[in-house]
């Protein structure tokens, strides 16, 4: 029945229906790139995520959003109007073949269409039904509106990101959604494990506020209740690690973090060797990071005195030779040209029919037996309608055409 099976894929044979906006597309990607048959279901004409700028070669187009292209690799795409009776019927038939549904609608919306978890579960008891919403399915704010920026605010990320004199700031690339999607993928796979043992699926209720709050846990409740200190923005240095931060070199910035007592000793020795400053060797600065906390600014002066004498690459290589955690502060071009990533063949070229080739960031993990791969580029809207509705559900070409004309597909 399956039109394609990829051998040696971890999730080969797992079928996923994705009804997801920007909150949940990365969840589908994580599973699709590991071999699951992820069928992306868009509204007729295609989802709004196709319009997220910027675009490939800076030319707008519904198949050219870089966000859309990246987030939908390895998926098949169909269109469907779930609010119509015919659309609902088709979705139920598809759900009966699925291991997982990923959805990002407001709580209760699919229930209202007769497409909620309880309905689908009756058709398919092993089904895992994963909802990714801003605040979760329950609670007084479940109908509040949100966005990645708002989740980053409420979840505690922005308060502790950026310069101490600057307003709170968010990370590039919608990281609240990325992390929520990753948690959703993990939870869905854990639910698969349970379903395989017991035959029972379940509803997974992901709240982006909660996944963000968990992500910021280094600054979280345990530490605060313990020491009464509410962490806030602190520039580039990490509050708990002294020294740490971005330091100037002759041609850019290098990042350093010292966490263990022996690393401080090694750094102090290097500073002394190069600058001749004796004071840096003072035993006052030795031991755990907390011993250095009162001297943070002074130590930063010593370190900058070292780093400013060299290029980023010199500090990086020599620092690492001394087992010190120095890394370059890389720009996008530097990441694209990074020799370590090149040696690991991190970037992969993907052919887009008719549109050319595009180099993609590749696997977040390497499995020896079931390697991550981009099976196909992101689908055009409804690209696999004939393959899935015709080939798998057995709809005739006339019926397909009629549904298309009626705006159901």
């Amino acid at each position: 029945m399956r039109s394609h099976t990829v051998p040696r894929a971890a999730l080969a044979g797992r079928r996923v229906l994705e009804l997801a906006d920007e909150k949940g597309v990365y969840c589908g990607k994580l599973l699709a790139d590991m071999g699951a048959d992820v069928v992306k279901i868009e509204r007729p004409g295609g989802d709004a995520t196709r319009d997220i700028p910027p675009f490939w070669r800076d030319e707008p187009g519904r198949d050219r959003s870089l966000f859309y292209l990246y987030m939908n690799t390895s998926k098949r795409g169909i269109t469907l109007d779930g609010t119509s009776a015919e659309g609902r019927d088709l979705l139920l038939r598809l759900a009966a073949t699925a291991d997982l549904v990923i959805e990002t609608f407001a709580p209760g919306y699919l229930d209202g269409l007769g497409l909620g978890y309880q309905t689908l579960r009756a058709l398919r008891p092993t089904l895992v039904f994963t909802s990714i919403t801003d605040f979760g399915q329950t609670g007084p704010h479940r109908h509040f509106r949100s966005a990645d920026l708002v989740a980053s605010a409420l979840g505690g990320a922005m308060h502790v990101t950026g310069g101490d004199a600057d307003p709170p700031v968010t990370l590039a690339g919608f990281q609240a959604n990325v992390m929520a999607s990753t948690c959703a993928a993990a939870a869905s796979l854990i639910a698969f494990y349970h379903a395989a043992q017991t035959g029972e699926g379940q509803h997974v209720d992901i709240s982006i506020e909660e996944t963000t709050a968990a992500t910021t846990h280094v600054c979280g409740i345990g530490k605060w209740l313990d020491d009464g200190i509410v962490p806030r923005r602190g520039g580039t240095g990490l509050f708990a690690s002294v020294p740490s931060g971005a330091y100037p070199c002759r041609d850019g910035l290098v990042y350093l973090m010292v966490n263990r007592p022996l690393h401080w000793k090694a750094l102090a020795r290097w500073i002394h060797e190069v600058t001749g400053v004796e004071a840096v060797l003072d035993r006052l600065f030795e031991g755990p990071s907390s011993n250095r906390l009162p001297h943070r600014d002074l130590l930063d002066v010593y370190i900058a005195d070292l780093t400013q004498r060299f290029t980023v690459d010199e500090v990086y290589r020599e620092g690492q030779r001394r087992h010190l955690a120095f890394t370059p502060v890389n720009s996008a071009p530097a990441v694209a040209d990074d020799p370590h990533l090149a040696a690991r063949s991190y970037f992969v070229e993907v052919e887009h029919r008719g549109a050319g080739r595009l180099r993609y960031p590749c696997a977040p993990y390497r499995h020896t037996e079931t390697p991550w791969r981009i099976a196909r580029p992101a689908p055009a809207a409804g690209e696999h309608n004939a393959e899935i509705y015709g080939g798998e559900l057995g709809l005739s070409a006339e019926r397909l055409r009629a549904l298309q004309e009626a705006g159901v597909l």
């Binding site: 979760g136 409420l154 505690g156 709170p168 345990g222 350093l256 890389n330 993990y365």
Partner: protein, 423 residues
């Protein structure tokens, strides 16, 4: 109802957050997670000195990070420099399904605990190695921590205000990010193993995970050849889209107006219907072109109001708004997190109880729970070696006497750290 990962046993050689957080989640879902430490190389989060009482020195059981990221686990310690200890570790792995390690790349191989060796004793083992750069490549043995990876992966230069070259989080974002990707990777391998019985090794590079998480941003350079601009809190697809100052010290509210209908409601709600008719703000393109003026007008409205009032007022009009909350706000002033029971009180051997951050997996059919908070080095020596391995009590005693199995000396712990000599 059995928990989702009931029957799965995990052995962890790990430190910090990127490794331990994987086991934390698995233990929460019912897996038995055994953390193997070494007294000479304790988990770095055990090097905790209470900031209000530094004279107490290092307090390895009081670290709020250690107790949380290792909650629900079993604790044993082995002197992994000794061959007999490696044999004991292998006996543990032989009775386990998953090994998670995040030592520097190559360390477990040198110890004799690499994948090839462990697969011999457990033919269907799933093993994850998580390191800064991954197990191969020219920089594989380099040392990194979470913020290093933010810098290395480009996240630090892609994020933040245009005038700031480098923006860093205080929460070591690549650590939780890598842990969650590690959990996905392990569960994919377990799903494959369920159907095939096949073992495999997973090489996770925290550098690569983090580049993948901003892959769509990097794609702008890869496809169009120009560097993505830092936009601070602004966006190309919505305006207003920002973080606005409110009344009080360091109080802010994030606001996103996502459509023309929302923009009209925003103008009405804020009592500025004239903005809706202002040609500078007539549509998204105009608002983006005049975004500095727009943001200052919005901030004029927010800055005389309290943050929660701004949020409630805009939410009542169906506009996305959220207070820039700190941890105290989340614990004391967030009715949503409270209603969902996000924070979890768990038992702690010295403090009685501590509050743990919620594990946001949302498994409604098999809700997880957190056992005891992270405990003493060697706390579960008798259970793990006696019950899991079936080692007779006199053999355990012999191994302890020989320094192969290590237990925490309570008196040593009291005095530990004040001279800062611990590694």
């Amino acid at each position: 109802m059995k928990q989702a990962l009931h029957g799965v046993r995990v052995v962890e050689f790990s430190a910090g957050m990127a490794g331990p957080w994987i086991g934390r989640f698995m233990a929460y879902c019912g897996a038995e997670v055994i953390k193997v430490e070494s007294r000479d190389y304790p988990d770095v989060t055990r090097l905790y000195v209470p900031p209000r009482n530094p004279e107490l020195g290092i307090q390895p059981q009081l670290s709020p990070w250690f107790t949380d990221w290792n909650a629900g686990k079993r604790f044993v310690a082995l002197d992994l420099a000794k061959k007999d200890a490696i044999d004991v570790a292998k006996r543990l792995v032989a009775r386990s399904d998953v090994v998670v390690e995040n030592y520097s790349a190559g360390v477990v191989d040198k110890l004799g605990l690499g994948y090839a060796a462990l697969r011999e004793v457990r033919p269907d083992l799933v093993m994850l190695g998580s390191s800064g750069y991954g197990a191969t490549g020219p920089s594989r043995s380099y040392v990194t921590w979470g913020p290093n990876i933010e810098a290395l992966a480009g996240l630090a230069t892609l994020s933040g205000f245009p005038e700031r070259e480098c923006t860093i989080t205080q929460y070591a974002y690549p650590d939780p990010l890598s842990a969650m990707h590690g959990l996905v990777a392990v569960m994919c391998a377990l799903d494959h193993r369920l159907r095939t019985g096949e073992s495999q090794y997973i090489d996770l590079s925290q550098f690569e995970v983090t580049v993948s998480a901003v892959g769509h941003v990097l794609l702008e350079y890869l496809s169009n050849g120009h560097e993505p601009r830092r936009r601070g809190n602004r966006a190309l697809h919505a305006a207003p889209h920002g973080c606005y100052r409110c009344r009080g010290e360091d109080r802010w509210c994030a606001i996103v107006v996502a459509s023309e209908a929302e923009w009209e409601r925003f103008c009405d709600t804020t009592g500025h219907p004239e903005w809706a008719g202002d040609p500078r703000f007539a549509d998204l393109a105009s608002r983006l072109a005049n975004v500095a003026v727009l943001d200052s007008l919005v901030e004029g409205w927010t800055s005389v109001r309290r943050d929660y009032e701004v949020m409630e007022t805009l939410q009542a009009a169906g506009i996305a708004a959220g207070v820039v909350q700190n941890v105290e706000d989340q614990a004391r002033r967030d009715p949503q997190l409270a209603a969902r029971g996000f924070f979890e009180e768990i038992a702690h051997v010295k403090k009685g109880t501590v509050v743990a951050t919620g594990i946001p997996l949302g498994l409604t059919g098999t809700p997880g729970r957190t056992g005891r908070a992270g405990a003493m080095l060697g706390e579960d020596t008798d259970y793990v070696f006696g019950e899991v391995l079936g080692m007779p009590a006199d053999e355990i005693r012999r191994h302890v006497a020989a320094g192969i199995i290590q237990i925490q000396d309570q008196r040593a712990e009291q005095g530990e750290g004040s001279n800062g000599s611990s590694r």
